[in-house]
Amino acid sequence: MVEPQPHRVTLPNGLRVVLAPDAEPGSTEPGGPPVVGVSVHYDVGFRSEPEGRTGFAHLFEHLMFQGSESLEKLAHFRHVQGSGGIFNGSTHQDYTDYFQVLPSNALERALFLEADRMRAPRLTEENLRNQVDVVKEEIRLNVLNRPYGGFPWILLPPVLYSTFANAHNGYGDFTDLERATVDDCAAFFDTFYAPGNAVLTITGDIDVDQATDLVHKHFGDVPARSVPPRPSFAEPAPSGELRDRHRDPHAPLPAVALGYRLPDPVGELDEYLANVVLAAVLSDGDASRLQQRLVYRDSLVVDVHAGAGLMGAPLDARDPDTFTITAIHSPEVTTDRVIDAVDSELERLATEGPSAEELSRVTARWAAGLHRDHDRLVSRTLDLGSTELLHGRAELVGELPGRVAAVTAEEVASAAKALRPEARAVLEIEPTSESDGGAA
């Protein structure tokens, strides 16, 4: 299947709009399911939050659901769900997204809800304090009370990176979260939530002309504001192996994460994609290199995973981005034995390259995975939006299977060669629990 070309509109206030209907206009094909996806991506993530305010971008994401000029607290949820829809938002390194998937008769309502909070969110002390508490519970749930919480996305960056932007905890420290003020929220909104700093994406059961009219109607009078120049987060790659250790009171087994710097995902896309293929050759499926060697042959680890992208998915951030290899292993196996085995598999790939069969396996699985993802409207909407934001071209989504298929064995070998011990971070998780972690 060829992905349809997305339509694109830019409003006078700078809002970029991507429209991707199920069927092209004039098509006699019956439409797909009567469902639409709407997302807004703002060009600000946790790398942009100021020092002393760790976790602020994510906290602010919560506040965008707490009411706006036309909507009381709780109204956003009720209107989306009471129209039969679902919603959520998430904060990443370089962007924050908000989305809704609803029956297509609720499209105008969804656009109204997004426009109202882009124009005039209600930022109050009461809501801020409430959401600080909620976010702290989210962090307890996902990090503090959980074995391997924040592994590796919170724990690895401070080992690999040295600048505040790249190294700090994007979920935030409790003391920083508690210090946040309503005025901080106002400043953050005025700086980063201008329409010219956002991409609106509409997909599914839509008519492009009608949807475009509705976009003008609801977003047209969101006032234009200046958009801040996007800072560079570049920093030099490490010049030696960086090591650190984290004590985890809940983890029953030791674990290790290796972090390497990736080529620039935007400026060196094909080199980046070679790393995406490399990651799949290393750990995707029972026949992959690291599964075969570390799990089945040498029985060193319980689980191993390699991937491009800190948050678990490739092409989710601008430069600098991270290639990670993580493994949970038996206490009897030393970290260095695990690392040596990884290094020897990387060395073999760097010298011999992957086989033709390995490459075709990755290509087929990648194309299938993309189809499968994009059959879910929420994934398709978010992928088009983030790709438009980070790369300026939502079309890239449809081109990726071809570009992944074009990656050669030599390019994968080069990518493997670049993952050098003297330019990486090693994070060890050391279990410190007294008991077996089980219930008494």
Binding site: S70, N105, D375
Partner: protein, 455 residues
Amino acid sequence: MTSATHRSAERIGSTELGPRPLPPLAEPRAGRQPETVDTVLDNGLRVIAARHGAVPMVELRLRIPFAGEDPGHPARAEVLAETLLTGTRRRDRVRMDTDLAAVGGTLQATVDPERLSITGDALADGMETLLDVLTDALTEASYPEHEVSGERDRLVERITVARSQPRTIAREELQHHRYGDHPFAREVPQATDVAEVTAEQVRQLHREAVLPRGSTLVLVGDIDPEQTVRTVRRMTSEWHSAEAARELPALPEVKGGDVRLVHREGAVQSQLRFSAQAVPRTDERYPALQIANLVFGGYFSSRLVENIREDKGYTYGAHSNFEFTPGNGTVLVDADTASEVTAAALLEIRYELGRFALVPPSVAEVESARQYAIGGLLTSTSSQSGLASTLMNVAALGLGQDWLSEHPERLRAVTREQVVEAARWYVPTAFTGVVVGDAEQLGEQLRGLGGVRLP
């Protein structure tokens, strides 16, 4: 903090025009029902094939009822699931993965006290390969000694990791609390039992229990349903059984009672898990109960979430869900809260249960939940993977695509009185459950609240 000259929060929150009216909903557009074939083959396998979705993929779900009374069953079943796809006469583990990869495919097996589940997907034109690898494993899985011993050792460690997860501990404690020694409570096998499983035991279990009769295969995607059923019939002809796969024995009724506090060393957050008896999905009262459950705690705009998250900030998420097994249905209510506010959260949950049973849902609450239930069915079944999973869930209860397509009408027909009636299932005394957390921090607060058995 970032922009040197920014507006105040008050200024940001209002415009000259002022608040605007919410746009009305447009006329809903009816979706098309997927073209579906639902039939039982001569070997007793029920096959549901549906043409659906816009991408050239096929989704596969296989459910084999896989209950066992023997205390050693969970460990043997777990090893079987881990090694089912590691070797046959024709293929070793790498060959299986390689053949699947060639058609963009994946297959994985998991097991629980109710069933052995195999899920997979592939490019639609690779469906025959996907089915070939699957039926190869179903009819000729060989459970090589080295694969069984390797997986057995890894499983022992994976079980340790699983049992360190608060949600796994809480689920296991809840299951034992409400079902005692019933096989349904044995979700995670004991590591010591796993360590003793032999390849021959696994082969024997496969012969006795991996059976087509009573099992269901669902295929959804860019496929011709009639043609697909013919293909399945041909490819599964070597898989046969006189006996039917083993369904779970009937579950005892969940009875209300004290909550049990379970100690977890060093916990900074507690898992609250409660359950009450409900009705099977096939029950005529179910649609009203479904709406009632949403109003109580089944979606974000519910009484429970609005209270303990959006008003009090005690939790990141609170939920009320159903758990259906053939012939049975229960309600599960859960929330995770900081240790300091655990007793306060328990008090609020009990308060909302009591209020729900006594202060009937409003018309607005019922209508919002009704639209969400109808819309949710539409959005969750709009993808191939979503439809495949939904079809399998209802097939396990003896229902099919027709039940799904008629369900929105059933939801529209529910009256407010029926919802009010259904809300009575939520009386606090109907519930029992567990709280998992640091007993040293929780003991005092919970003792004061009452209705909690301390360790």
